[in-house]
Amino acid sequence: MSATDAGNMPAMTYREAMREALREALAADDRVFIMGEDVADYGGPYAVTKGLHEEFGRDRVRNTPLSEAGFVGAGIGAALGGLRPIVEIMTVNFSLLALDQLVNTAATLHHMSGGQFNVPLVVRITTGAGRQLAAQHSHSLEGWFAHVPGLKVIAPATPEDARWMLPTALADPNPVIIFEHSVLYNESGPVGPATGPIDITKAAIRRAGTELTIVASAGMVPKALAAAEQVAKAGVSAEVIDLRSLRPLDVSTLTQSVQRTNRALVLDEGWRTGGLNAEVAATLAESCFWSLDAPIVRLAGSEVPIPYAKHLEDAAIPQVDDIVAAAINLVRPEQ
């Protein structure tokens, strides 16, 4: 969209955009229902589903007990039985209690059954650090899920994507996991009321540039954009790519960008070792080696459980200043 179009669109928070997407889905299709911990009266741990149970009733905005494996498995069963469940898991750390269901069942049933069964399930999971919630509520484990064939993994980073990726995810015949970074919920941005379902397999170029490509996803996207703005003042032109789809990766958009800019800085709030950043960097090394003017640089989470104290938490994940320094060092190493 152009800046002018964006200016005419109503602004909405990421939270409101997601709620609007859920409301539309519930209204459009009786088979759709939401389930998860405290999604009804409490309104969802991040208030995303607030008020929806009053509108659609408790069968369709269904509270569950604290049973991640149980209700994710029930979501898989409900999907097999003809419903279109949207399962909410409070935070990615808790999703590990349902890892068995997601990896051993949701991702395998289609293959194991020789293509007879498929699992049209949407799972929404909050991810990321930045709220001082320490090591059991703050990690970014989406790269683990992106490792698994049979799953689709997306991470809307803007209110517009939060609003319009959900309908595509719901229409998909496969299990789709949506990662929502917790610091994005209060972010406001333009949301086109008639944008329509967005292709969930494509990355988006959020800012065009010529000297390096900054690859980001989820909570790293606003930071990458802020850093690009700053380095522009230092005369460095950075392109910012929002991955959006973590599985499959949009290799073509990434490759074309880096072949133009000749440099890549890969951001990841998750850990560096074995992280999604490593997959992106390796992919770019394979596809862009002869176009590169400098080694690919990765800026990722420190190898530590996320600490509580604000200054330590900030230090554990890439910040705007870190991105600025890495970008300038990559393009103007002499400075």
């Binding site: 209700f71 289609h110 293959h111 064939p149 015949p173 496969n174």
Partner: protein
Amino acid sequence: MNSESPDAPTEQQVQHRLLADMIRIRVFEERCAELYGETKIRGFLHLYIGEEAVAAGVMRCLGDTDSVLATYREHGHALMRGVSAESIMCEMFGKSSGCSGGRGGSMHLFDKDCNFFGGNAIVAAHLPLAVGLGLANQTLDRSDAVVVCFFGEGAMAEGEFHEALNLAALWKVPVLFCCENNLYAMGTSLESSESQTDLALKAASYAIPAWSVDGMDVLEVHRATTKAVAAIRAGGGPMFIEFQTYRFRPHSMFDPDLYRDDAEIEQWKQRDPITTLEAQLLGDQLITKEVVEEMWQAARAETEAAVEAADAAPIEPVDTLLRHVTLDNEVGS
């Protein structure tokens, strides 16, 4: 399958059918064991021999719209559900005409047309799926359709068992939980894996009607399940039956069976569900030796035809390797 309907089978017909069912499973699986020795079947092979009364007795209470989920010891359940012996054998031979296209093998038999949802090899992981299928039936006004979920007693130590029973009871979903208690979770005895060995009592703590049945007596299995299924269809919510049974063979073909006394195995073999029912029916003159022999012959013929077909079936071409990973990539390829 309302037993009160005018065209309902007579008691004797039911008895004959159940005997033939168990024989069918037994013959099929004894042949599987041989084929494993011949390396025609590979991977894990878990035989159900000794436990046939449970699958036969339960499955004869179900109708087409019901759904079944089973474990990795599921050849008998698949056969009873209507999956053909040929497509099961082809699957175990790894052939493309197998019921899972050669992707599943012995542990992952699936058949959509039979509402047979596997063939699940993560112990207890399919119990939450049963709850979800029940929820779908409830929501989509298929309230007379029952979901039947088989699992071993080993599953009752898993968290997913407890989560699933709790959800099932809270949501009153039409699910029959069928615990096949063969006393050993692989090599671990019931006493060493369960603090409460009264499994029905354990299940009942979720406010679910639960009871135990002699799983070596197919008529008893059939009677109990008929009652449970009727109650669930009538809106009674989930129920749990423990079938006390025993596997005569080791856990899998790799198991040297070091954890059980021969005497114990022999004792249970005295209660073989097939020979017991045969003797009972012959003694009461409710069947003739000729009819029994015909049942064995028919089962052998079916199994041999399946083996021949599996031998002759083509393998899946390697260039289809990436099929069935996500639904869209096969549409495109």
